[in-house]
């Protein structure tokens, strides 16, 4: 170990003990990325062995019109702005039909807070997808959208969730968490959901049997202590509900946002966030290296730094590409498998709820 300050953390990890806030800070402050990675890899092996998950999924962003103007967002448009779009439920149906012959098991739906669309639209989108592909898992709407829908309809969060579940919702993505810090919120996303509300909505979803993901947006103006606090809050909720499926740290892509003066997170930082998350979130089963965001190269390396999931073959992921992500839009199942196998891991295809699927289905998507 190059950085001996990590020794106590190392001993705790090997003993399976929970890490404290101070331990987390020590990890962030250290440059000994290989030791941090080694510890994270150890935890990953304990939890998932050599299994590395991927999924065949489809992303649908039904509208990019948003009443908020989060500073870090390159996705939203105003109604009259160039590039603003809104898909009709029928267009959503077409999108799903376009790939109906591919062995997709998860459809991921998130979008803007579009004042020009009725509450029913958001429910219809889910219903439509469910109709066209009844077997697919629908992972839709961040907590930010849930709160917005409640506000728009005058319903409670709980009623909104019930409507969505009734229409076919199976799981919720972890977006909109950003960093649980009032300081950062005031500076970057004033109008967005508070961290207490984000936590409360996920808790509510868990209580209804809806599994959710959690995220952390890093690489902007956040501080290390804010990130560790964020992780600990997620860990506390997970202790309570056990409803989180996976955690994915998301690197902020400054290009095309109003924070374009900031620099993109480097590979060292990406891997550190993956590894520190794996170490702090001892009650999360999975840590995801989202290749569309990290790039294929770094996502592959992240598998040796604590990540056990590489997400999937994605079509039309607009959010990161509008923010200048250079990764290609799609990888075939064979490419994903090869990427995983090459590093000595066992590729396991999963659905949104981490059930193993499609072990021997036709390679249509390849």
């Amino acid at each position: 170990m190059v950085d001996s300050a990590l020794q106590p953390v190392y001993d705790k990890v090997m003993a399976g003990e929970r890490l404290t806030f101070e331990d987390g800070m020590r990890l962030f402050e250290s440059n000994d990325i290989l030791t941090i990675g080694e510890m994270a890899h150890y935890v990953r092996l304990q939890k998932n062995g050599l299994k590395t998950y991927f999924t065949m999924n489809q992303h649908i962003n039904p509208t990019n019109i948003c009443r908020n103007e989060c500073l870090f967002c390159a996705f939203y448009r105003k109604e009259d702005q160039d590039g603003a779009y809104r898909m009709s439920p029928d267009a959503v149906r077409q999108k799903v039909l376009e790939r109906i012959n591919e062995p997709i098991t998860e459809i991921h739906i998130v979008g803007g807070l579009d004042d020009g669309l009725p509450y029913e639209y958001y429910i219809d989108v889910i219903r439509t997808v469910k109709e066209v592909r009844p077997k697919v898992n629908i992972k839709a709407y961040t907590a930010v959208e849930i709160a917005y829908l409640a506000e728009r309809s005058g319903k409670s969060w709980s009623e909104v969730l019930d409507d969505l579940i009734e229409a076919g919702l199976n799981a919720m993505p972890g977006g909109g968490a950003e960093v649980f810090s009032e300081r950062v919120k005031r500076k970057l996303f004033t109008d967005k959901l508070s961290s207490d509300d984000w936590i409360a909505i996920h808790k509510l979803a868990h209580s209804k049997g809806i599994r959710t993901n959690a995220t952390l947006l890093y690489g902007h103006i956040e501080k290390d202590e804010e990130k560790i606090e964020h992780l600990i809050r997620l860990r506390n909720l997970q202790d309570e509900t056990g409803g989180f499926l996976t955690f994915l740290p998301l690197a902020f892509h400054p290009e095309n946002t109003r924070l374009a003066r900031l620099s993109m997170a480097t590979g060292f930082e990406d891997l550190k966030h993956i590894a520190v998350s794996r170490l702090m979130l001892d009650n999360f089963e999975h840590i995801k290296a989202y290749w569309v965001m990290l790039g294929v190269d770094l996502a592959q390396i992240a598998l040796s730094f604590g990540a056990d999931d590489i997400d999937g073959s994605v079509v039309e992921e607009k959010i990161y590409h509008m923010a200048g992500s250079k990764s290609s839009q799609m990888m075939t199942r064979n490419q994903l498998k090869q990427l995983i196998q090459e590093c000595g891991f066992i590729p396991v295809e999963r659905d949104a709820l981490y059930h193993e699927v499609n072990s021997e289905v036709s390679e249509i998507a390849s």
Binding site: H41, T266, G267, D270, L271, D297, C343
Partner: protein, 359 residues
């Protein structure tokens, strides 16, 4: 003795040389962090200061006309294709002037094997450069070019090098090595210069006191055994001459080449970098290749045996033609080196640190 992880760990700790079979064991290891930690240990032994170096220089591709047609090359034009060029020395002079103005100290001139350019072309060019820009270092002409110049100028290799050196050539880049195994070179259609001829150019140059680098292009048709043979050939020659300053493994860029295929992975790259650091115990510097791997992976390369970030200012037609489009400024390179926990330091071709940074 049976090769296992603890034997290798022991040998690395005791600074023992690793064998071919041990190298193969390393290549077959999926445990990336284990490899990284070993390579990092060796790197820190050779470079105890937390510094990562880089150089400001400029690549000038003085001609793209080439009689060889290597399958992995997206750069060359055949003689008489109509798309070939040879840069005029005034144009090269202008580029050098810009380079100096931007704080660069060196030019890296490489080009095709152009039958129209005999030794007097290079002598004239180098003299022109040294007369007009006496401070600039000429780090130019890879071994295939030197070997070809000697052939078409009907000179011995030694005389060719003596004349080039007298005209101003300071050091030689390690390009054109690809994989120094003729079986592989033949398949790549790159055997205009054989592996032995490549090594002979370097040996001759080293014996004249010139420093050179060495490269390895991997991720095409070669096996791990071929990579190791390559690495060991460099190590053997280095034992005799100590003329190599750095080893630069880089990945084959398949776009627009007749060989085609897929780019090798980041995992393979970091692993190969680490194995290079571990096997080449007598080569002081290992350079990461951000031009082919991008900034994120190159930065991590500093933890997998690499201590040098290569060159900042590039005009790299050869690699750009094959689909590598990474660009970085000095500021950006310094930023990512710092974030990785190292102090960025500008260096010269001999890997001496330059004291004063100019902006």
């Amino acid at each position: 003795m049976k090769i296992n992880k603890s034997l290798i760990e022991y040998k690395v700790r005791e600074e023992r040389r690793l064998s071919f079979e041990e190298g193969l064991f390393l290549f077959q290891q999926p445990d990336l962090i284990w490899l990284g930690k070993l390579a990092d240990r060796v790197k820190r032994r050779i470079h105890p200061e937390p510094i990562a170096t880089y150089i400001i220089d400029r690549n000038i591709n003085y001609t793209n006309i080439c009689v060889a047609q290597c399958d992995f090359c997206a750069f060359y034009e055949k003689v008489g294709s109509g798309k070939g060029y040879v840069l005029k020395k005034e144009v090269i002079g202008q580029k050098i002037q810009e380079t100096l103005r931007l704080g660069g100290k060196q030019v890296l001139m490489q080009g095709g094997l152009n039958p129209a350019l005999k030794i007097d072309f290079y002598e004239d060019l180098f003299r022109y450069i040294k007369t007009n820009f006496p401070t600039v270092r000429i780090h130019s002409l890879s071994p295939p070019e030197i070997q070809y110049i000697s052939r078409i100028s009907r000179l011995s290799l030694k005389d060719t090098l003596i004349r080039l050196k007298a005209a101003g050539l300071d050091s030689i880049p390690g390009g054109g090595a690809e994989i120094l195994v003729d079986e592989v070179r033949q398949k790549l259609n790159a055997n205009k210069t054989t592996g032995d001829q490549w090594l002979e150019v370097m040996e001759t140059a080293h014996k004249m006191g010139m420093k050179t680098t060495a490269t390895m292009m991997f991720g095409h048709i070669e096996t791990y055994e071929h990579r190791l043979e390559h690495i060991l050939k460099i190590r053997d020659l280095q034992d005799h001459t100590m003329g190599f300053t750095a080893f630069i493994p880089w990945t084959f860029q398949p776009d627009n080449t007749s060989l085609g295929g897929e780019k090798t992975s980041a995992f393979d790259y970091l692993k190969t970098l680490a194995v290079s650091r571990l096997m080449l115990d007598n080569v002081p510097n290992i350079q990461v290749s951000w031009v082919t791997m991008g900034a994120k992976i190159a930065q991590m390369g500093l933890y997998f045996g690499g201590n040098d970030f290569g060159s900042v200012m590039i005009e790299e037609n050869v690699v750009a033609a094959a689909g590598a489009h990474f660009r970085m400024s000095q500021e950006e390179i310094e930023r990512i080196i710092r974030i990785a926990g190292f102090e960025p330091h500008q260096r010269d071709m001999e890997y001496k640190l330059l004291e004063h940074r100019e902006h």
